[in-house]
Symmetry: C2
Subunit: 191 residues, 2 copies
Amino acid sequence: MARNVERRAALADAGLRVLAATGARGLTHRAVDAEAGVPVGTASNYFRSRDALLGALGERIMERFAPDEHRLAELGAREPSLELVTDYVRYIVERTTAQPELTRALIELRLEAVRRPGLARVLGDTLRRGYRDDVAFHVAAGLPGGAFEVALLRYAVDGLLLDLLGTSIDAGFDPDEVVSALVSRLLAPAG
Amino acid sequence: MARNVERRAALADAGLRVLAATGARGLTHRAVDAEAGVPVGTASNYFRSRDALLGALGERIMERFAPDEHRLAELGAREPSLELVTDYVRYIVERTTAQPELTRALIELRLEAVRRPGLARVLGDTLRRGYRDDVAFHVAAGLPGGAFEVALLRYAVDGLLLDLLGTSIDAGFDPDEVVSALVSRLLAPAG
């Protein structure tokens, strides 16, 4: 069982490399088998359709963005405040920009899903769960704001990541300064 | 000359349809010729490389997002205020979501440009010019905030558009309410 989980993750990681190199439309089970160095048919055993394969890549991206437990414990030990939210969001930007090809792949999957209802279903589940978990964490930690503020921040950070990891509008401001302003302004009315 | 401008626009529009159907990687000069119903070689005459072609699509998207002059004059006649900025941004969201395939194409081009320095150059020029024009317009109109606030709004609206036009986090809030909150909160400190 543990072996299957590992194998599945290794196949998904190979799929993410194919996705980065060729885009969503170049991704096939056979290309994943080749990239992972496994017999033809292996990826099909784990992911029964192209949408299931693409959806699994979305889930794997979220897994690979998971925070380090030690860093999270340090942050969790602090008093809730706008500064603490700023540091949480900076840590999100740090993790996502450290794996730029994963962040770009997630945006590409969100766009590709418009043409693929099967992918939209799997990826929609992943994104909805991620948002609900963020809201639950935010509220449980006593941080300022609620579901609405978490959504506003999410939109703003997604747009910032697109600017940092794709062609930029080159506004010329420091990302740390931008994150700090986004958090303090979007959450202040609730603080 | 006018004829050349029209032909160039018609070719770019054909290119945008190919891009929507097949993605950036499926876009070739030959596919554009076929889609536009012109002799093979026509697109190559107007756009000398693949990057030039992709870059021209970015410019054409911005042209097609241009506001209606009548609507703009109505907005321009009002006193500058946060409410007026909200209505400007709602009009941006209205225009971009009315042509969802163009908005998605622009995001895809921004990501694709990471692998194509030639495209990054052309598209970067277009996006930088767009941002500078937005700032100049904002300041000349006496609207609250400056270059920094225009950048914050731009990030937040780009992220909102990704959520509206791709797989959503399904936060369940009304986009009009979201835009109103983004404007009043991001610009209020400057207002």
